[in-house]
Symmetry: C2
Subunit: 360 residues, 2 copies
């Protein structure tokens, strides 16, 4: 059966990096004989121009139209000068997460060759872990309100809501990911010494679920010291799991620590495949460099790699990763894009990686 992918480039550099991502996906599909259907008739979905014209980021009936897809391959969204971020994001990405129950957010934190690591004395191979984030509930609940508004005694309340179902399913995913890796090491982010109801509950579910995965080594750290350990000893992590907020923080901090925030991918996953999962680069639409042809396409290409990996195409995914790393190592300044100190173009780097995928 063919893998059915909805291609949504979105705004800004999303439009530029997407063709490179598709080029590489097609190259790898050809080489490994993977049946993959890339539907490109969503060109104006999730764009600010569309919002300004039609009043919504997505057309009516979007959910039905996307439901039959296995995945969404997504570029970037937002143009803050014309549409506020919360409208463009909540009207596209965040909607997908909620409506398609993409309850896992997954991001690699990996030191790649050719990328300057902001941490001292780290070399390629030292840092290689995953952050698994709960993506639908917890601190992002939108439940709460205000009282005595506008007065001295104003009180504002926001509720964190955790459900057993919601917590257990992300922990299950994280334990299984840890189990599939050589180190079998899971780290849980908590703050049970300060946040006294929800976080001890999280800890309790981590311990309970651990009984089913006795071959996984589990530890936990409070989020404050955990962010410090990301900087001081990132090589000790394998899989790190956190609530919606803690996972959000760690999945920006982790790629920052490897210098890869501009090239890392992100998966928003509905593990059961009941709904489409979404794969995107971590970077945004970068209006400042959009249209110049110099955006780095690696985040988009790596997102395609994650997509293939997720759907079980291990060998193809492995080849794509090797091609990305080889391009960074051998590309040279004529190929590498300006963000990494080269003078190359988006199209040039994308084509180079595609050619490596064919032959590496």
């Amino acid at each position: 059966k063919s893998l059915k992918i909805a291609v949504i480039p979105g705004d800004g550099i999303g439009q530029e990096v997407m063709p490179e991502g598709l080029k590489c996906l097609r190259a790898v599909a050809k080489r490994y004989n993977i049946k993959i259907q890339l539907d490109e008739h969503f060109a104006d979905w999730a764009t600010c121009p569309r919002y300004l014209r039609e009043g919504s980021m997505l057309p009516e009936g979007w959910k039905e139209q996307l439901t039959s897809y296995d995945a969404i391959y997504f570029g970037a969204v937002g143009h803050p000068a014309t549409v506020p971020d919360h409208i463009s994001l909540w009207g596209s990405l965040i909607q997908f997460r909620r409506e398609f129950d993409q309850y896992i957010s997954l991001r690699p934190c990996k030191l790649l060759p050719g990328i300057r690591c902001p941490l001292a004395d780290k070399k390629v191979g030292d840092i290689d872990f995953w952050v698994v984030r709960e993506n639908t509930e917890g601190e992002y609940s939108s439940v709460g309100g205000k009282i005595f508004e506008g007065t001295e005694r104003e009180v504002v309340i926001q509720e964190t809501v955790m459900t057993r179902i919601g917590v257990d399913r992300v922990l299950k995913y994280a334990y299984e990911l840890a189990q599939s890796r050589p180190k079998r090491h899971l780290t849980s982010a908590t703050k049970s010494n300060g946040i006294s109801i929800s976080m001890p509950y999280w800890d309790q579910r981590v311990a309970e679920m651990g009984k089913k995965y006795s071959d996984v080594f589990v530890d936990k750290f409070h989020i404050d010291i955990l962010t410090a350990w990301f900087v001081l000893r990132p090589e000790t992590f394998d899989v790190v799991v956190g609530s919606n907020l803690f996972g959000d923080i760690l999945s920006d901090l982790g790629p920052a620590c490897t210098g890869s925030i501009g090239v890392a991918p992100s998966g928003n996953i509905n593990p059961e495949g009941r709904w489409p999962s979404l794969f995107e680069p971590v970077h945004g639409s970068a209006p400042d460099i959009a249209g110049k042809g110099i955006a780095n396409p690696i985040g988009m290409i790596w997102a395609g790699q994650m997509l293939l990996e997720h759907f079980g195409h291990k060998e193809a995914a492995h080849t794509m990763m090797r091609a990305i790393e080889a391009a960074l190592e051998r590309g040279g300044t004529g190929i590498i894009t300006p963000d990494l100190g080269g003078a190359g173009t988006c199209e040039g780097l994308g084509s180079y990686i595609a050619s490596l995928i064919e032959e590496i």
Copy 2:
């Protein structure tokens, strides 16, 4: 009028670093003729042995006994092997914060000479900023509960509670601190794109309060990307303010980024002086090295420096800081403690800094 200080060394290395802290405070007080009364009859307060003997970290009537002091000079607390952390911490430090309305937590993030910076290519002078944390409300409210406990449909709720009084007073402190510094730059930590009630409220108060401090440049970042900027461009910060949880995270991450988590101090401040403020090193009681005489006393000494600065003894505080920096620069391996790669002792480094305070 004399400065009245309650000296509480606490557990583990707290007992070892405190004498060095006192030595330095006495040296600087003598040099600058500062009247300072250091009351040492609290030797077993806030210790786990006391808890095991008496069933409480602090004696009855502790609040009355401490009320007349200007400040508490605090060592470290906790011995996890005998008393769980949440009992020792909540029974001492956290009680002080709440009962003495120490609504500001203040921590320096400063690159010092002789300390290995975990970030690549940073030199002394590059990183020098403060984290101001709301210390009494917000995410640490302890309000909430569970329903459908022990079943599939279990729901756990924890409420973040912000009050106008609570938010405004920390912002006022942060704006004034920023105003007193050459760069006059305040950065606010938010997450209003995800946490949709309390965080937009925080932003609104930041903007409102900003009207009174038009000479302060304010910006804001979402906490996820802000942690990334701490690693990628720490030199751009001056004063950073955050809610209880965000401030907690940033005030561990900041010192981690400067490699100074073992030597940094922390102030828990009641700015009006209605109640005693508390100054302590960031490090804990370190049971693993306690009793060996090799603990680094700089956190304790630097906490004394912050105390003097807080009470307006600028020149004395400046001298203490110079003495600490000079010791790190010139001390050599015979003086510097093992945590920084030397072979010195706690007592040796403390005495060396005290001698520098006398003559520098």
